[in-house]
Symmetry: C2
Subunit: 333 residues, 2 copies
């Protein structure tokens, strides 16, 4: 039996919940969960915001732990391996996205908390192709958030070939943004943080930003016209996107990691005149996760976390909802 925490209904409190996972399939592994991060998408799923939650619902897709069982056909992982598991828990391996290395874009990928039970538990299972070993020396207690939040901010650097000579800005210094600043600084870029709160300014500088711009001050943003090769937006509120488009250099990219629900109302002229792009990505492929873990280990990039015990999971979720988490929350046994 697996001992987990589940919500019985939409938006419900999490309660202890046991389930029998059945026999381990030949290509699965079973992970003893040591830590599991809480991500905003756990909340969205708990509330069925995306209309794809089934109840009882066990959240958790930022798992760090150790392998305790491997399926008969698994040869690349073994019992005792320190590993992590993120948003995806298996891939089809044969679609054109999988075949070209973009497994995270696989249309039939299995998601760790969609139609199955996630990592708020003592154990969790996943297909071997979605489980990535932690590099030696990587701090396990803060590793979980790298598997969703971390790879989400790292992936665009790989996808869009960001260079050390690029000027990069990050909008929003929270659960995603604070990791983005660290990665970008280590990547060699000149880094600017757009932040709405004066209190986060010094924090942003400490995390790797070289400059800050007050995102409430239209004049400050206007003054930055033509400055950035890429702007990563990590917020989920509507901003004046055309103003941020102006802050891009010619050929610049405004890239979304946070899903605002309101449409973007982008002016076409602003795209055409400077050959600019708008785009979005979510998480990353296992190969990108491996690169990211290695890079984080090398450069001491670490999510800043607050820890809660698993039996405090509801308090932890309330803390996340309050918007006061600094900056990622991790559950531990």
């Amino acid at each position: 039996m697996i001992k987990a925490y589940a919500a019985k209904e939409q938006g419900g409190k999490l309660e202890p919940f046991e389930y029998d996972p059945g026999e381990l399939s030949a290509t699965q592994v079973e992970i003893a969960v040591e830590y599991c991060g809480i991500c905003h998408s756990d909340l969205s799923m708990l509330n069925n915001d995306w209309d794809m939650t089934s109840y009882p619902f066990v959240p958790g897709h930022e798992v760090a732990g150790s392998i305790i069982q491997v399926g008969a056909d698994v040869t690349t992982l073994k019992v005792g391996d320190a590993v992590g598991l993120g948003w995806h828990s298996g891939y089809c391996e044969v679609c054109s996205s999988c075949e070209s290395g973009d497994k995270n874009l696989c249309a039939t990928a299995e998601s760790t908390i969609v139609g199955r039970h996630g990592g708020f538990a003592d154990k969790v299972r996943a297909n071997f192709d979605s489980v990535v070993k932690l590099p030696e020396g990587l701090d396990m207690e803060s590793a979980g958030p790298l598997f969703c939040g971390g790879v989400t901010v790292f992936n665009p650097l790989v996808q869009y070939d960001v260079k050390a000579t690029d000027k990069v800005a990050v909008i929003g210094i929270g659960g995603l943004g604070h990791i983005a600043l660290q990665f970008l600084n280590a990547w060699g870029c000149e880094v600017t943080a757009f932040t709405s709160s004066e209190s986060k300014k010094s924090a942003a500088l400490a995390m790797g930003a070289h400059h800050t711009i007050n995102s409430q001050d239209e004049a400050e943003i206007t003054a930055a016209a033509g400055s950035f090769d890429i702007i990563l937006s990590t917020v989920n509120v509507k901003l004046d996107w055309n103003l941020y488009l102006q802050a891009l250099k010619p050929k610049g990219r405004l890239h979304f990691l946070g899903a605002t629900l309101e449409p973007l109302d982008i002016g076409v002229f602003g795209l055409i005149m400077g050959q600019k792009s708008i785009s979005g990505t979510a998480v990353g492929s296992p190969s990108t996760i491996e690169k990211m873990l290695d890079f984080a280990n090398q450069h001491k990039v670490k999510p800043i976390i607050e820890k809660f015990k698993f039996d405090q999971v509801n308090e932890a979720l309330d803390h996340l909802k309050s918007g006061k988490a600094k900056y990622r929350i991790v559950l531990e046994h």
Copy 2:
């Protein structure tokens, strides 16, 4: 004296107009205009839609002709050369866009019909760095439209590294779209035309499309979900862009060559889920123009034109406004 056709006021009729261009500068050349295409942006400028027209206004930025005078410092062009001139008539050559080959993104580039007189004339001048020689064998009477319309549709193939294995679609089969279909077919792509009129369907197939989709039929567009690597929009009306986003493959790009004035109202989720991009470009660099001319010559890509005499310029403009031009209009002496 240069004998031109100018509007004296916003939206006015063109009338014969003479001006003294003064002494040729050391870096300029003078072109005897043999043909000049009419582009939608000539109309926009005539009407001061972009608030940057000065009157008397001489339109014309799709020039084909022969050099009749070169400035003292010009060594790369000589009298008698068959050349063309497009939207830009000179570049700063020292900004970072110019230095990296993206001269068309130079913020201080001189535009052929902005603050100076264009190609609806017997002669026109331009800085040597903006004038491109016609390759031997290229038909001069249809060459003009390549210098604006042609490079506009060709540039994204270069900028976004479109491959022969890509599935590409074109929205709108008019002045831009009919050239795009030819280029894309010659590029080796599988080409689909989105067109609103049944009558243009067979024309699109004749120009190089392999398939057509009725852009008025939502079900047909929906059925094409996940089909295209890149969609080039050449229209200037608002369509259901989120529906076209769905027609893209993962990592696909919806690219705008036509400037709709209404904002795009794009959903962020639609970008994030499939790692999709939205972008826009205008014209292209001289280097891209050279590549395009060579490619057009090699593959017999030719704008389909209707010819008017220069003294019929007002009739020609009315024909363009009517939306019935098939597909580009060229003025000849």
